[in-house]
Amino acid sequence: MVWLVQLVAIIVMAGLAPLFMGIAQTVKARLQGRRGPSIFQGYWVLAKNWKKETTAPEFSSWVFLVQPSISLAAILLVVAMIPWAGMVAPNWPHNLLTIFFLLALERFWVGLAGLDSAGTFGGLGASRVATLGAGIEPAMFAAFGVLWALTGGTQIQSIAEKVSLLLWGLAVVSYGLVLVAELGRLPIDNVDTHLELTMIHEATVLEYDGRLLAEAQWGMALKLTAMIGLGWVWLSPAVPSLWMNLLLRVLEVAATSVGIGWIESRFTKLRYFQLPTYLAMASGIGLLAFYLMASGGLN
């Protein structure tokens, strides 16, 4: 039964990913006083790009061509590993470090392909992705590590009462800060800009079109779903029914997408040279939580 729910969950989440993206975009449009495109626009864009011809820059190599598939596969594996129903299926791989390295793998290939196309913007984007990665990874390690340790990788249920509110608060805040940075959302990066010189993640996919672009776009939507879903898997109180759990996850991710749209409407992008401060803060809070936990936060 857990197996079945997990398989259904993977399909549902992979299928709904563009919708979650659409929710965030629609919220942003409304807060800007625009009607905005349909909430399902993500699907039309994917379908359109999937059908289009794919071209590659003149001096690019196989790295450029395989990157979207590798990144997409890495994120799909993360989605597959998340215990969406609150329980790990028997013999199902479930390992924090694997999730962590899959995310790092995606970042590595995105950076590599950005350099491979030999365009200035790709190179600039790759350099920025790598620089930010160096700051995101410790913060992510601390935040994920604490939440994983507190929950045993699934849900908070039994140990919830034993942990101080402060510890929880610190862990959740650092997770939220990491989430925004890893997804490249405001105030870190702007997914809705045409200004090449300001782009971080977008600059690395500027040269893509056709099916490869569709893969990259779906990968971005999946990453949003996975990163938010992971947090909720850890934070949601347990519900007896597995299916109810899955339904709750869908609602939670949708609600968080609304929140992301709201946050993106409140903030401007930070100066690039201020990003290390932001990431240091995320890491600091995460490490503090780690220290609290290690030194008896669990009583």
Binding site: L186, D192, H194, L195
Partner: protein, 483 residues
């Protein structure tokens, strides 16, 4: 011997003119081999100095008056007159596709000139050395932006140098105007650019009126003031909308665009054109209903108040603008900064304070001293406020006045005249030369033309990621410069 004396006097007179606080209106070349510098004295009078081109050359003013560097390069490209002593005579307008000895404005070409089949790239100025990357942007951009080619020399995330290659869409407006009859000029002048069009139209109208010795009556003059100020609001609303977009502040961007759209629709119903094309001509100005304009102002101003509170109270937005893209006052003065750029860097010149049209209205120039993006933003905010008030005063008076009397210029008008206005992007001057009611020479010097070189000063030393923000705080018109 005589020639050297004249050359020295040319340089001396012009640099003295600058030193006594005059504004250079234009440096104009003519087909009959002379160069004329028009100056606007602090009291509003115009003065001209001229020098003959001898053996295809004239002494360059650039070493003592760096602001004319582009003017002289343009003259070199379009007329082939050589400014002797110019430190950087690379092509500005010229493309390698033009055949040798083809100078578009030097003589009239009946046949289209066959272009050479070569790459259109002009040599660029770049920094060389270990770790320096050359980043070329444009002329085709990712958004709906005009065509400009930018060559950045960057090191890591820092801009070391920026070389501008504009004039990608040179239309040859000045050449097109030559030989036109009076009636054919206004529509073309109207379309020199979409941001400062009223200013261009008023320049043409007042040049003709000056040559004919005609003084326009007050009702007409004040309608022109209303049009000029309406254009300023339209242009500033647009420029203010673009600045938040540079830092991902979409809410402020979209709300300002909505405000601008409302104003623009108002312009269409009041004056008959969304961009205010064809609203002013010699002896005329568009008729409009003062009460309707008053209602429009009231309506848009309500949105304006809440938008103003939003942007002024947003810490993240203010933080992004502070200390970024600084134009030092010395550079602004040296390179002849105009309009908002000058007034944000401590130079408090606004041509409205000396323009005859604005005699009755005391316009106090806006002033900031920090020269950064925040200063240019604030100057625009202040100028929009000033324009609202000015407009309301004007329509109050216009409503009480009789209808203006219209006038037709004589068919055989002749002579040389210079006219200027304070456009939303700075001092805008036209030099007009007529003979038998036909244009012999028409030279346009817009405010943005002088501000472009200052953009390169403002971005040097800043982060690459801040360039769009700095660029938007200048919001320079390509069309006015490329012509």
């Amino acid at each position: 011997m005589m020639g050297t004396e004249l050359n020295k006097r040319w340089i001396l007179t012009n640099s003295q003119q600058r030193d006594n606080g005059s504004q250079l209106l234009a440096l104009t070349a003519f087909q009959d081999e002379r160069i004329v510098a028009h100056w606007l004295l602090p009291d509003g009078q115009c003065r001209e100095n001229a020098i003959a081109v001898t053996a295809g050359a004239f002494p360059s003013l650039t070493p003592v008056l760096p602001q004319v560097s582009w003017d002289e390069r343009e003259i070199h490209d379009l007329f082939g007159y050589i400014p002797n002593g110019h430190p950087d005579l690379r092509p500005l307008v010229r493309t390698p596709r033009w055949p040798d000895a083809f100078y578009p404005l030097r003589s009239k070409f009946e046949q289209p000139i066959p272009w050479l089949d070569v790459e259109p790239d002009n040599g660029d100025q770049r920094v060389t050395g270990e770790g320096v990357t050359i980043m070329k942007v444009g002329p085709t951009h990712a958004g709906v932006i005009e065509s400009g080619h930018f060559v950045f020399s960057i090191m890591g995330e820092n801009i070391l140098h920026l070389d501008l290659h504009l004039f990608q869409n040179h239309r040859g407006v000045e050449g097109h105007l030559e030989g036109r009859r009076l009636a054919e000029v206004a529509p073309l002048v109207s379309r020199i650019c979409g941001a400062d069009t009223v200013s261009h139209q008023v320049n043409w109208a007042s040049a003709v009126e000056k040559l004919a010795g005609h003084t326009i009556d007050q009702p007409l003059a004040w309608r022109r003031v209303a049009l000029l100020e309406s254009e300023r609001i339209l242009s500033h609303l647009n420029d203010l909308a673009q600045i938040p977009a540079g830092v991902g502040f979409h809410v402020a961007h979209q709300q300002a665009l909505a405000m601008k759209e409302k104003w623009q629709r108002g312009m269409h119903s009041l004056f008959g054109h969304r961009l205010l094309f064809d609203t002013v001509g010699p002896g005329t100005a568009a008729f409009f209903d003062p009460d309707a304009l008053g209602r429009l102002i009231h309506d848009v101003r309500r949105d304006w108040q809440s938008w103003r509170a939003l942007v002024l109270g947003h810490h993240g937005f203010q933080d992004r603008m502070l200390g970024v893209g600084i134009v030092r006052q010395a550079d602004a003065a040296r390179l002849g900064a105009q309009g908002v750029v000058a007034r944000a860097s401590g130079l408090s010149f606004d041509a409205r304070s000396v323009m005859p049209l604005y005699q009755e209205w005391k316009v106090k120039p806006a002033g900031e001293v920090s020269g950064d993006v925040a200063a240019r933003f604030k100057v625009r905010l202040e100028e929009v406020e000033t324009s609202w008030r000015l407009l309301q005063d004007v329509i109050f008076e216009v409503a009480k006045m009789p209808l203006p009397s219209f006038w037709q210029p004589p068919e055989d008008l002749a002579g040389d005249a210079v006219a200027y206005t304070e456009s939303p992007h700075g001092l805008n001057a036209h030099v007009v030369s007529l003979k038998n009611g036909q244009v012999v020479r028409y030279h346009v010097r817009s405010g943005t033309f002088r501000n472009w070189p200052l953009l390169t000063k403002a971005v040097t030393g800043n982060a690459v990621g801040d360039f769009p923000l700095i660029n938007k705080s200048f919001e320079l018109c390509y069309s006015c410069s490329d012509r």
